[in-house]
C-alpha cells in the first residue's frame, strides 16, 4: 500500500482531476487529530467567554482543512467553494439572529414554566 501511495507525486492529476498524495492525506489527518485533542484540552481551563471562541475557531480551521483537502475544494472551481461558504453563512446567520433574539427575550420568560413536563 505504502509503496503504491508514494508513487503519486503531489499535484499529480488524472484526466484534469487532481489526485491527493497519500502523504498529504495522512498529514492532514494528523493535524486534525492534534486539533481535536487541543479542543478538548482547552475546555479544562476556564477561559471565560473565550471558551466558545476558541472552540469555534479551532472547528473552523478543522472544517477548512477537510473542505480544502479532503473535499478537493483547493483544486476545484472556486464556485463550488463559494456555494459551501454561502450555505454556511446563511446557516450561521439564521442561528445567530435567532439565538440573539432568544437571549434578548429571556427576561420575559416565566421561570420554570413547563406544566406538562413529567416530574418524578
Amino acid at each position: 500500500m505504502h509503496t503504491k501511495g508514494h508513487s503519486a507525486h503531489p499535484g499529480e492529476s488524472i484526466g484534469g482531476v487532481h489526485v491527493m498524495p497519500v502523504a498529504v492525506l495522512v498529514g492532514i489527518w494528523v493535524v486534525l487529530i492534534i486539533l481535536t485533542v487541543l479542543t478538548v484540552g482547552v475546555t479544562y481551563f476556564d477561559l471565560g467567554p473565550f471558551n466558545l471562541a476558541v472552540a469555534l475557531g479551532v472547528a473552523l480551521v478543522k472544517a477548512s482543512l477537510v473542505a480544502l483537502y479532503y473535499m478537493h475544494l483547493k483544486y476545484d472551481h472556486p464556485f463550488n467553494g463559494f456555494i459551501l461558504v454561502v450555505s454556511l453563512v446563511f446557516v450561521a446567520l439564521f442561528i445567530g439572529i435567532t439565538l440573539l433574539d432568544a437571549r434578548q427575550y429571556q427576561p420575559d420568560m416565566i421561570p420554570g414554566y413547563a406544566p406538562a413536563m413529567q416530574k418524578k
Binding site: Y105, D108, M109, I110, Y113, A114
Partner: protein
Amino acid sequence: MTRLLALLASANPPTTTSGDFWMPVRGSANAAAVDWLFYFIYYISLFFFALIVGLMAYFIFRYRQRSPDELGEGPSHNTPLEITWTVIPLILVIAIFWIGFTGYMKGAISPDGAYEIQVVGAKWKWMFGYPNGYIDENLHVPVDTPVRLVITSDDVIHSLFIPAFRLKKDAVPGRYTKMWFRATQPGEYQIFCAEYCGTSHSDMLAMTIVHPPGEFEKWLENAANFLDKMSPAEAGEKLFKQRGCTQCHSIDGTRIIGPTLKGAFGHEVALTTGQKVLFDEDYTRSSILNPQAQIVAGFDPVMPTYQGRLKDREISAIIEYIKTLK
C-alpha cells in the same frame, strides 16, 4: 378600479367619533400616529399605483400594434433613469421605516406608574386581573391614564387585538408580553383574538370599557365586592362564567368536556368506581377542590383543581348557583 381608488383617495379624513373608510374609530392616543403613517404610505402607494397604471394604459393605447411587422422603437437602457427609480423608492422606504420604528419604540416602553392590568388568554376567553385581585372578562380602564397590560396565555398562543387602539400583542404561554396605551375617549371598544387558537377562535371576544374620569375606581370597587353586593346565586353565576367553568360544563343539558350541571344538584351521580354518590354541597365542594378524587363515570379526569384559586365564599356562591340550574 381606478375610479374606486380615486373615490377612496377622497375619503374623509379620520375623525374621533366614527371611523373613516379605511380605519375604525380612534380610541387611544396612539391611534392617531398609526393612522398618520397609514395614510402616508397610502398616498405614496396611490401615487405610484396611479403612475404605473396610468402610464401602462397610456402606452397600450398610444403604442398599440398596427401591423404584425411593426417593431417597437426606443432605448433599451438608460442608467441615470434606472438609478433614479431605484433611489427615489429607497428614500421613501427609509422614511416609512423610520416613522414606523420611532412610533413603535414609543409604544414599546410604558411610562412609569402606568396602571397595570394582567391579562390571560385561554381557550376561548380573556381574563383581566386588576391590582386588587378582581378578575373580569372585560377590560375596564380609566380614560386618559396610561394602562399597561401584562399578557400571557394558559394554553396555546392567542393575540389581544383592540382595533380602536391600533394595538395587538400575542399572548404566549410561558412568557409575559407587554403593551400599553392611553385611552382618549370613554366608550366601548371591541377586543378580538387575532392569533388562531382553534374551534372558537372567532368567538374569543371581549370589550374594552373606557370609563369617564373618576368612574373607573368606583366600578372596580363595586365589581370587586360583588360577593357582598349580589345574591350568592348571582355571584356564583358570575364566577362560573369568569373562571372558565363554562368551557367544560354546559348549563343547558348538552355534554361537552365535563358533565352538564343542569338539574344535577340533588341527584345521584355514578362514579368510575361504580359507586354512586349524592350530588350535594359537600360533593360539589370536593369536586372543585379535589376533582381527581371522584371521577364521574364516562368522563376523563381533566378538571383542574381550584385549590387556592377560589376562596371559600366563592365556592359557596358557585354552589348556590349550581342549585338554581334546574
